[in-house]
Symmetry: C2
Subunit: 223 residues, 2 copies
DNA sequence: CGTTTAATTGAAGTTCATCAATGAGAGTGG
DNA sequence: CCACTCTCATTGATGAACTTCAATTAAACG
């Protein structure tokens, strides 16, 4: 999940009538807290997420952490650059992935359809990261948090009667590290949105978006 | 040019003995200030930079601008996502590019070597942007400016007698928008490095790095 | 040489981080 | 079931870093 407003993602399920992928794509389940890969691991696979929530992080020597992306069903994660991974990928909620051999992206051998899907995912990722860059560098705390809620709710929110309910599977720390803020600022900003009547909380891990228009406005700095 | 310390880039020149690219790669010169493409343009080409310096930017509705990347010789720029470009690409110094049809990335028809080069460039870009994300979100002004100078000098600096001379082809405003800072902060930070004896200036557009170790330390927050 | 644009420097203001304390929720064991 | 603990989230007070506004200096260009 990248904070993009343009993330039309290609589902993993092939269209009916299409020949299924030949072989080396394997399903695999991942329990909460387990790592898909770690920094330094040889990058042999690319993962297509079918269930669960994953977190892609980089850490600086001094411990400063950046969450590069959250991976949700439909996302593809773990694009290799060179032989080793430069980030950690952990399931923050039990899930499942389809494992593609790294090969499937490089060579044309194997299933052409898969190759195309992986390639397009890579290009989409570049675009999404450009949005993320913009957000990190140029948006205020309020805009960041609002953008995050809007994007997340587009992916996993359920709307009913003008109210959108959206789980926050990740901790405040994860959100903070994704947005380039501190835990405290994230919390204060959520409180601010709550007191303004834009959102409400069920538990700390479930937002109710009461005024989506206002949230979108906040995300764009129109205030 | 992305602020990466790991940007081993593949040169455009094919290894001797390799069959030259079949056809639709065209050379093209671009004068300073000219656009390679603009936001909204149909993305028909991917550009391999052979000379000059390019700037890739995104702009928000309200005018806030983010420089996504600087393109230097050896870089490949303009990866498409969907049909239209989501950013502007302008030459800030007269240059030249090899124009590849967008096609060359999608299909395998045509020159396999080119396809691989483009694909690897895309993967490298994802990795580089992850570093850039980290920098924007987690580094101080000093670290950002120092990182920028280190990375730029690795690409276009000339070392002699322990002194590295490096051109800054872009304006302070461009640097600021690349690093997520203001012009003033960039200027003040450069002054600070200058007064600390780490760098010196010839003109405003040429840095002399007097103490590379100190600069690298500053880039990593060891201070 | 004068005009314009870019870069530097200064002073004041804001936003966010840091430090510190409190509160809420989940799991354990009595 | 109720303390107890541990973790996570919230809230408050203070301070630092960077921005903003404003002025000055330097460089580029006709």
């Amino acid at each position: 999940m990248y904070v993009t407003l343009s993330s039309a993602f290609t589902p993993a399920t092939a269209a009916p009538g299409v020949v299924p992928a030949p072989v080396p794509a394997q399903r695999r389940t991942v329990s909460a807290g387990a790592h898909l890969f770690r920094e330094g691991d040889i990058a042999t696979n690319i993962y297509e997420i079918t269930a669960g929530v994953f977190r892609l992080t980089r850490v600086l020597d001094d411990g400063r952490r950046q969450v590069i992306a959250f991976g949700l069903p439909g996302d593809i994660i773990g694009f290799p650059n060179g032989t080793a991974h430069h980030s950690d990928c952990e399931a923050i909620q039990a899930g499942a992935v389809i494992t593609h051999r790294r090969h499937a992206l490089n060579t044309l051998e194997g299933d052409h359809d898969t190759h195309q899907r992986l390639l397009h995912a890579a290009l989409r990722e570049i675009s999404a990261m450009q949005d993320h860059l913009m957000m990190l560098a140029r948006k205020s705390a309020l805009e960041k948090v609002a953008s995050f809620l809007v994007t997340l709710s587009e992916r996993i929110g359920k709307s009913r009667e003008g109210l959108t309910r959206c789980a926050l599977p990740m901790s405040r720390a994860d959100i903070a590290d994704f947005l380039g803020l501190t835990i405290e600022t994230v919390s204060r900003t959520l409180t601010r949105l709550r007191k303004a009547g834009v959102i409400a909380f069920d538990r700390a891990q479930t937002v109710l978006i009461k005024d989506m228009d206002a949230l979108v406005s906040a995300a764009q700095g129109r205030d």
